[in-house]
Amino acid sequence: MTAFLRFEIIRSLRNVRFVVFIAGFPVLLYLIYAKQTGISQGLTVAAILMVSMAVWSGMGSAMFATGPQLAKERQSGWMRQLRVSPISAPRWFAAKLAQGLLLIIPGFVLLILLGFGYGHVHLAADRVAVLAAVLVGGVIPFCVLGLVIGLVFDGQTAQVAQMLTMLVLAFLGGIFIPYSNLPPAMQDIGKALPSYHLVQLGWNAVAGRALGVQHMLALAAWAVVLGLIAVWRWRQESTTA
């Protein structure tokens, strides 16, 4: 499985579109907006944005391995080739999940460095560690969301589906614009989304507040529901063979 994981990570990092998406885009946004002054709930704009962009990057990385990449592999027949090799389906899924989790590292490290160096965010090492832990655990539902996209869409449309899903999650979840600026009806929708709960956990971690069990439970619930959808789709596809 480690051989497989290494192989997948190397080729993902060669994907220019993916790297721009997880690193280029959030870095650019950070450079543009982090210099704004202001404090909200005890956090500077630079700190808030550092978390937002790290969450955006993490969501994208987590969804990529299981989403557009998987859709392409299903379509090209590569997955069939893997199915006649000794790697078992559970091990292969585990590798995909691990790939999604490991790929959040580059974006996370980049944004922490940027936050410290460019945004003058001062954060104790233990809070950085909590933020990292929050991200690793919190992106799991997004890995599973990617899986649903990868199993439902084909190679071309999965890319678009992931992009649109992420934009909706980011806007309504309060990652791109301050949450209070959203109309109340949208706030209600947004509060149900996993992106909202993940970014709240992130801000709480940085501010040194209690993380909030309700956010963790919501993320876990999303992971379970999406996981059931993915399993259903997978079964549906393999039984029609």
Binding site: F7, S12, R14, Q75, S76, G77, P86
Partner: protein
Amino acid sequence: MITNKQGATGPAVAFRDVVKVYHPDIKALDHVSFDIQPGETVALLGPNGAGKSTAIDTMLGLRTPTSGEVRILGGTAAAAVAAGQIGGMLQTSGLPEGARVAELIGLFRQLYRDRRSTGELLMLAGIDDLADRRVEQLSAGQTQRVRFALALAGHPELLFLDEPTAALDVAARRHFWQSVETIARQGTTVLFATHYLEEADANATRIIVVNYGRVIADGTPARIKAFTATRTLRFAMPAPDPSELLKLPGVTDVLVNGDAVTARTGDADETLPALYALGRKVRAMEVGGGGLEEALIALTSADNGSNTERVS
């Protein structure tokens, strides 16, 4: 009988009365049975849509038969795949973007316990010069050769190749079949699908001809080739007598339906003069000729008539 690694004796592939229905009206496999013994190199020959890929996918465990039994190396296909005992080159399979050929081969080697060396794989597939190439830069033929290397990575006991030379040029094709021969000599059982009779004839020790999901012939290349020399004569004559027509030189089968006659002959040059020499009013003569398509029509024509009298 050759003993395989599991210590069991028996056929490498046992395909018993297998039916695969995709759609109530379409039987991709219609009660197909054959055994493949260890060490054989077998061609599955038939036109597009005959059921070759369905048969191979079923042997690889990618599809589940609607009914019937499939045993691979004495167990299930899934068990053979999990144990790394079989290699498969599927008809269409892209390679994952962003990988280099050498990385891909390295990955596949690590998935198997018993593995060929990278050098041997590059040589067998004829891709030494492509090792550092990224897969998205490969041509269709090069991709096909890389997929061949992947299928061989685990030293399979049983190798399935689904139309393996479709994208290859003449030189690459020759190299490919030389490699298959090398592997077969090392003891690997090979089953390949093709719609070229010449390819089956040149490279297999046995040919199984399939059409409309059924096995319509199974034998040595020499025997199958004899079918292709067959010509089908269609003509009309008053009150045709099947037993008289069967006595004509070369004639193997006769179908009579009113005035219409369909006769198969292994030697049309002998049959035709003898037929006209009977002195009967033979009209509307049509001679169906060689080529695989024709041969397949000849092989399957016996299945067509339900209300015709058949004598052979």
